[in-house]
Symmetry: C2
Subunit: 361 residues, 2 copies
């Protein structure tokens, strides 16, 4: 009898718990996988009880995904090492800022031949270099391959089993198809592409554009303006990705996958980054105060990503070619008033470029 | 002294009147154009007064764009022949169904060397052939070149001077740049591309997708599902255009212009086609009854376009490759219940196609 593979999920927020529900059910149908799915939980005490114990008793993440049942073969563990030991597939779905320490803690305990799949949206800042991918941190620290899954996936709607789609980016075809089998359900449809770099970068950069979309709304502009912000932001995403990551197997078609245009749309019409942008245009408060007030202290990822991207553009003198990325950062830092945002769109390079689009063909 | 050129606008609905406002102001700054801009108005009697006389006296289209002042050099005329005689640039912005008769009436009166620019979104059905472009009707009937202007442009917001952008598609560069000068303002930014066919087709086909977006909302689905409908509809638009019009200078980049993705987004979040889709999912009424009730008897362009596109797909047995186009038509005709719409998305060919996207690279 062949030895079965094992999946571990590193992270247990609302998205991590939603994915645990899906993967937990799917492995039961897969001959090649063990039934048990381990999920690493950063231990907390909820009304005197440990969160891991509550999850394992109630089969529900009462703190981060209340009201949604997890399959009983999903087991919550507070210890990272015992959660990941012997795992063949490691799904990373934890807040960006914990990734580095988690990778370092994991390093001595990995099973040879295992691989990762990141669901985290963000970028690392590397002083002197610019930005680097979160998956590169995983690849380089752990010396394993790492795919991604990114898409237009507000966690609460996926947890409610409302139809949507997502994109797996995997340089390796067989790992890509295995991940599709782990993630796909009748309500959650997966496309698999080889361009893992483009997929990950779209997932990070779209949060900056969503702050811009919120600014436009907050300034009193309507649907036309919003569509222009989304489109011009999309052009900046594409330009940035091709300019700085062109050697890494990018494909134009990635931008039309769920991880590209669809995720951008969802994020610009819902979610926290849009909310912060709206508030930046309608109040004089700082981002920190707005995060405390509107997001219960959680950070809006787009604010961090904008700062990282801005540093890279600034070092190279490229601000004028990326007016949305630049101006969103300056407005987040309160270096510019929100109402100058629309001015930067009027002089956007996409309109100056006569008789050709910015596209690559 | 060089003879100056003349612009005539054929049509005076809310979009036509908005464009008359813009062009009327712009020609005053252009050395090469006459100040007077003629606008053809289908004569109506409003409280005992002729609409043309009201427009020329009040400098306002009191019926179709109330509250917005037109420049006094815009002159409304009820007679098509005198409106267009001697015109060098003819801007077509009238309801689709009147175009054929207008072209036939215009034919004997055109100035040699004139050209057209169409702002009309729709398609013609040609029995036995499939669909044809409205601009081909203009080109073939009048034997003149014809550019287009298409974009994410809800007329009322453009009339209020809220920032947005649009796309001029013109096979000829100098006509394209002349149209940019006629249309561009600080709040209405124009990109010029050569792909006039792709731009026009995006403008027509997006209305079908918008009915789909409305169906999703009416069925109670959320943002993720809507983004999936928009993206999968976008893939069908692209596939349809490349499959049937590939010989006519299409460019991939057109889909990322305002006439492509941005217009699609705006239409899926606002406008009549979305509204009809929503009502089809939440009532048992026919499209005709819904148009009477919700749109004051105006037609939802997407219903007609879906019928024309469906006929073409059906003749060629291609329904399964275009599930959104097909199902939107069947639901509009009440041949299928609205709640089967999501089922067609689950089996969408974009998800079956492993390890490659539907894109062309």
């Amino acid at each position: 009898m062949a030895i079965k593979k094992c999946v571990s999920i590193i992270g247990s927020g609302n998205w991590g718990s939603t994915i645990a529900k899906i993967v937990g059910r799917n492995v039961l149908q897969m001959e090649s996988f063990e039934d048990q799915v381990r999920m690493w939980v950063f231990e907390e005490i909820i009304n005197g009880q440990k969160l891991t114990e509550l999850i394992n008793k109630k089969h529900e993440n009462v703190k981060y995904l209340p009201g949604v049942k997890l399959p009983p073969n999903v087991v919550a563990l507070p210890d990272l090492e015992s959660c990941c030991q012997g795992a063949d597939v490691l799904i990373f779905v934890l807040p960006h800022q914990f990734l580095k320490n988690v990778c370092q803690a994991l390093k001595p305990h990995l099973k040879p031949g295992c691989y990762g799949c990141s669901l985290i949206k963000g970028l690392n800042r590397v002083p002197g270099v610019g930005v680097s991918l979160l998956t590169d941190l995983i690849r380089e620290t752990l010396n394993i391959p790492c795919a991604v899954m990114m898409g237009a996936n507000l966690a609460s709607e996926v947890a409610e089993e409302k139809f949507c789609e997502s994109t797996v980016g995997s340089l390796d075809r067989s790992r890509g198809l295995e991940l599709k089998e782990l993630f796909e359900t009748p309500y959650f449809r997966i496309s698999v592409i080889s361009d893992e770099i483009g997929a990950e970068l779209c997932g990070a950069l779209k949060n900056i554009v969503a702050i811009g979309a919120g600014l436009g709304e907050g300034l009193g502009y309507g649907e036309n303006t919003k569509a222009a912000i989304i489109r011009l932001g999309f052009m900046e995403m594409k330009r940035f990705i091709f300019q700085f990551f062109s050697k890494r197997g990018l494909q134009e078609s990635t931008f039309l996958e769920s991880c590209g245009v669809a995720d951008l749309i969802t994020t610009c019409y819902g979610g926290r980054n849009r909310k912060i942008g709206f508030a930046l245009a309608t109040t004089d408060k700082s981002v920190v105060d707005l995060e405390a007030e509107l997001l219960g202290g959680q950070s809006a990822q787009g604010v961090l990503t904008a700062a990282e991207v801005f540093a890279m553009l600034h070092d190279r003198g490229l601000e004028a070619e990326f007016p949305i990325f630049t101006m969103v950062h300056r407005i987040c830092q309160r270096q510019e008033k929100a109402n100058v945002f629309i001015e930067c769109l009027r002089r956007h390079p996409a309109h100056i470029c006569f008789y050709r689009s910015l596209g690559n063909n």
